[in-house]
């Protein structure tokens, strides 16, 4: 039975889990399973893998809870556990085919002006529902191409819509580093979407 009278804090639950309280474990799972699943999906892009990774993450939580430093924020420790678990599974499933973050960035002329209008019409793509779905699927794929440092940031910020401070804390990076990585990652995804939206433009640019 769950008592909703006063929601326990994460730390309350951590201490009770350490003491072997299964109800506390159940409450922790109820509180975090959706976020853990979604973060895992961001790395693995497969529902079955994400579900298994979520299970492993909570198993690790249960086994390693004794190593959690109670002076730290629980969520940041736990999200790192979730991400590590997912990346570990991803390495077993498919060796990464990562590309450099420099590879797909906007192009500028020597004088600093934009080289070309590479996006046909930004508003059209998202008005039509089928196109929007297709575009979203490709965007997910393009996020998957990014090196981990960028991929985690863009998934947590733009898909999960987690607060900047929470993401920076989880990843152990500064706010300026967070901003810089997020912006670079967005530029990458934008550029890749632009490239598939207008392949003829790429051929022209290459010739």
């Amino acid at each position: 039975m769950v008592d909703d009278a006063a929601a326990p804090t994460d730390l309350d639950l951590v201490r009770r889990i350490k003491a072997g309280d299964e109800q506390a474990l159940e409450q922790m799972i109820e509180r975090y399973h959706a976020r853990v699943y979604s973060l895992s999906y961001g790395v693995l892009r497969n529902a079955e893998d994400a579900e298994e990774s979520t299970q492993d993450t909570f198993l690790t939580l249960y086994r390693k809870i004794g190593t959690f430093d109670e002076s730290k924020k629980f969520f940041s420790w736990f999200y790192r556990v979730a991400l590590n678990q997912a990346y570990s599974r991803a390495r077993r499933r498919r060796p990464g085919t990562k590309i450099s973050i420099q590879e797909h960035l906007p192009r500028f002329r020597e004088d600093g002006h934009l080289a070309a209008l590479d996006w046909p019409d930004a508003s059209v793509a998202v008005e039509d529902e089928a196109s929007a779905r297709e575009l979203a699927a490709r965007a997910e794929e393009f996020i998957g191409e990014l090196p981990r440092a960028y991929r985690d940031v863009i998934w947590m910020a733009d898909v999960e819509e987690m607060p900047a401070a929470e993401i920076a804390e989880t990843l152990g990076i500064s706010i300026p580093a967070f901003k810089s990585r997020l912006h670079r990652a967005r530029l990458h995804v934008r550029q890749r979407l632009a490239e598939i939206s207008r392949p003829a433009a790429r051929q022209q640019a290459a010739s």
């Binding site: 979604s38 906007p106 600093g112 934009l114 930004a122 998202v126 929007a132």
Partner: protein, 95 residues
């Protein structure tokens, strides 16, 4: 004063800012609303005179919208229960 060269996107010339600076360095804070007012006004002046940057901004925003659309992902039903049972089984605990 530096002499400007005429070019197709000369309309977007600005004394202090280029498309590159706007796109690569300033866009995040511009969009996040975390930019000082003076700098923001400068970027807005650039945008008012630079159609390529306006289209770039549109596409940057459209990208954000596309990414946010990935969010309402269906969480498998009964996932919490499955996870709880999984952990209990592995740890040899009994409820």
């Amino acid at each position: 004063m530096k002499k400007k060269t005429r070019s197709p996107s000369d309309a977007c010339r600005s004394e202090d800012i280029t498309c590159k600076r706007l796109v690569m360095e300033a866009l995040y804070d511009f969009e996040a609303g975390t930019m000082p007012a003076g700098e923001r006004a400068e970027l807005e002046r650039h945008l008012a005179a630079c159609p390529p940057c306006v289209r770039f901004l549109d596409s940057y925003r459209a990208t954000g919208k596309t990414l946010r659309a990935l969010k309402p992902r269906e969480i498998p039903p009964m996932l919490a229960r499955t996870v709880f049972q999984f952990v209990k089984a592995r740890c040899g605990k009994k409820s």
